[in-house]
């Protein structure tokens, strides 16, 4: 049986349509691959850092001017952060006085970038030969960049790390959890289990849906106007950031908790009521435990979102230069995404790879959180 020309045309149209769909998927997937290859490609060099072997002469003048410790031709090749520690080192080890040691020192970021072959390394021409020679002689070598994980931000690119930002992120996240999860879950319980069906309840519901759609930056304006200007929370503090993100996360948690509560079948509530459980007992003994996986998943996703959020934190001032982990929730702090933003606006080339490395750390944490949420949802998925 041969197909009529019209039918053939229709089949061609059918194939075309399917092809469009496939193209869209492939486009998105290609972007994803391109994106990760690009970011990882940029980030990986940052995990290696050049170290340089230089003669360090300890003498009286070093105490007053650490620059004196190192011969002039090497001075620019060594990180200032290394030089700064020499005075203290001498105090701790007086026996070193008037000796000269060959020591491995953190190399300057220009040396590092130059050897990595990055454009815009900024190493002056006169040093290039020396550096290449030293590298061939094994006097410069690459080591794993532990500083990146154990230090805070620094003006010296080779010495900058994510620790302070990570601590800030954790602190902010803890505040966000402490505020948004209880309030969000209680709100959802109120709306699903106790609220009378009246105008006021409907207003709350509409309001929560709208809150979920409000751009995050407006939460920043709220945080600035209410928490900082009215309530007197210190600017740039983890508290200000945490509270702002808590309000932003609230609707996400409320909505997912409500969905989880709603998925608990009515028959379970009926059963418990029929046995003489009070409404509070029904919720606490039956509904909440059953909804728990859903609430957990929703909260993790909401908190991951909060953890990756930057805009509202910029507004409440959490982009300050923070070299050390904050001591309390009232101290100025920064968070990982804000650190990424700060580094990305630095012009020094070494910061670019650090930005990418920071992004990689951030993405690892966030994607693990999301994967955890997906895993939990799959594991506890209950069909009624």
């Amino acid at each position: 049986m041969s197909l009529s020309p019209q039918l053939k045309r229709r089949y061609r149209a059918d194939k075309r349509f399917k092809f469009y769909g496939l193209t869209a998927i492939v486009f998105a997937l290609c972007f994803l691959i391109f994106f990760f290859v690009d970011i990882i490609g940029k980030a990986v060099p940052a995990f290696e850092q050049a170290y340089i072997q230089v003669p360090v002469s300890y003498n009286q003048s070093v105490i007053h001017n650490y620059n004196r410790a190192i011969p002039k031709e090497y001075r620019r090749l060594v990180s200032k952060s290394f030089l700064r520690t020499l005075g203290q080192k001498l105090e701790a080890h007086p026996e070193l006085m008037n000796t000269t040691q060959e020591e491995w020192a953190l190399a300057n970021h220009r040396v590092d970038q130059f050897l990595k072959g990055h454009e815009g390394h900024g190493l002056k021409k006169k040093y290039r030969k020396t550096v290449e020679q030293m590298y061939q002689d094994g006097k410069i070598e690459f080591r794993f960049n532990t500083n990146f994980f154990t230090r805070g931000d620094s003006k010296m690119a080779e010495n900058a790390g994510v620790l302070a930002a990570a601590m800030g992120s954790i602190m902010v996240l803890l505040i966000t959890i402490a505020v948004s999860v209880p309030i969000g879950v209680m709100t959802a319980i109120y709306l699903e289990e106790f609220a009378p069906d009246n105008r006021f309840t409907q207003a709350i519901e509409v309001n929560i849906n709208n809150l979920a759609a409000i751009p995050s930056i407006l939460y920043g304006l709220l945080g600035l106007a209410i928490f900082i200007n009215v309530m007197g929370v210190p600017r740039s503090s983890a508290l200000a950031g945490g509270l702002t993100l808590a309000l932003m996360t609230l609707p996400v948690i409320i909505i997912s908790t409500r969905a989880a509560l709603r998925s608990v079948p009515q028959s379970i509530r009926d059963a418990a009521f029929g046995l003489g459980a009070s409404s509070l007992q029904v919720v606490i003994h039956h509904v909440l435990p059953l909804a728990f996986p859903g609430i957990l998943t929703g909260s993790i996703i909401g908190l991951a979102q909060a953890m990756g959020e930057t805009a509202p934190l910029l507004i409440v001032g959490m982009m300050a230069y923070i070299p050390d982990a904050p001591g309390s929730i009232f101290d100025a702090a920064t968070v990982l995404p804000a650190q990424v933003y700060t580094w990305s606006s630095e012009s020094i080339r070494a910061f670019e790879e650090r930005t990418a490395a920071g992004i990689l750390v951030l993405l690892t944490v966030l994607l693990s959180l999301n994967a955890l949420a997906v895993y939990l949802r799959k594991k506890f998925e209950v069909r009624w």
Binding site: S267, D270, A271, G274, G276, L290
Partner: protein
Amino acid sequence: MSKPKISVSDLKLWYGDHETLHGIDVDFEAKKVTALIGPSGCGKSTLLRCLNRMNDRIVGCRIEGSVLLDGKDINAPDVDVVQLRTHVGMVFQKPNPFPKSIYENIIYAPQIHGMVDKQGMDELVETALRKASIWDEVKDKLHEPGTALSGGQQQRLCIARTIAVKPDVILMDEPCSALDPIATAKIEELIDELKQDFTIIMVTHNMQQAARVSDNTAFFYMGNLIEFGETSTLFSQPQQQQTEDYITGRFG
């Protein structure tokens, strides 16, 4: 007729402005099975839910008239609905065991009502499961989830759970409508046994079931009690034309 266990008089019920029960008068005998039959929306389930005040939770639901349990009005302001429900238990249409172990399902209600201490628990669980004729089937898996049982077993577990509170009255809202005929037969057999200890009031869509298991039958239509009487009489010599039409399948 002996002294009624539950006596309903002139019970009217509104959902918002809509009157769904128009003055029901009916007495439920103690230790008897009474079936409530009638087409969908006739008010039989609504009446059933009035008997342990499950309607309290529905917004805009309002009642008039009285429901006396052992001569005491259950809607009186000093009656606590939670305590009422320990006297009037309920079994639902779909088996709804809690997603906990069989053991926990049984022990839950006695525990929240403080009826049992640690030592008495095992015994209580066994008695309840035995009474619900499911002990032999589950005695080896008491700590497995109740939801893993078959539909009929789940429903008997739900009945056992209700019995564990030692109620006087058990309300059953179409307890077999989600079950296959074999499971249904088992539940019916169970109901037959349970009426020695409990007053049972059941709603059913299945007239044959009403005929099989009940001693008395009440026929409802459009929110009115049309006829109430002994089951065999009602099914062989109904007094009302509407009853005759319904049970002979000539309705509407």
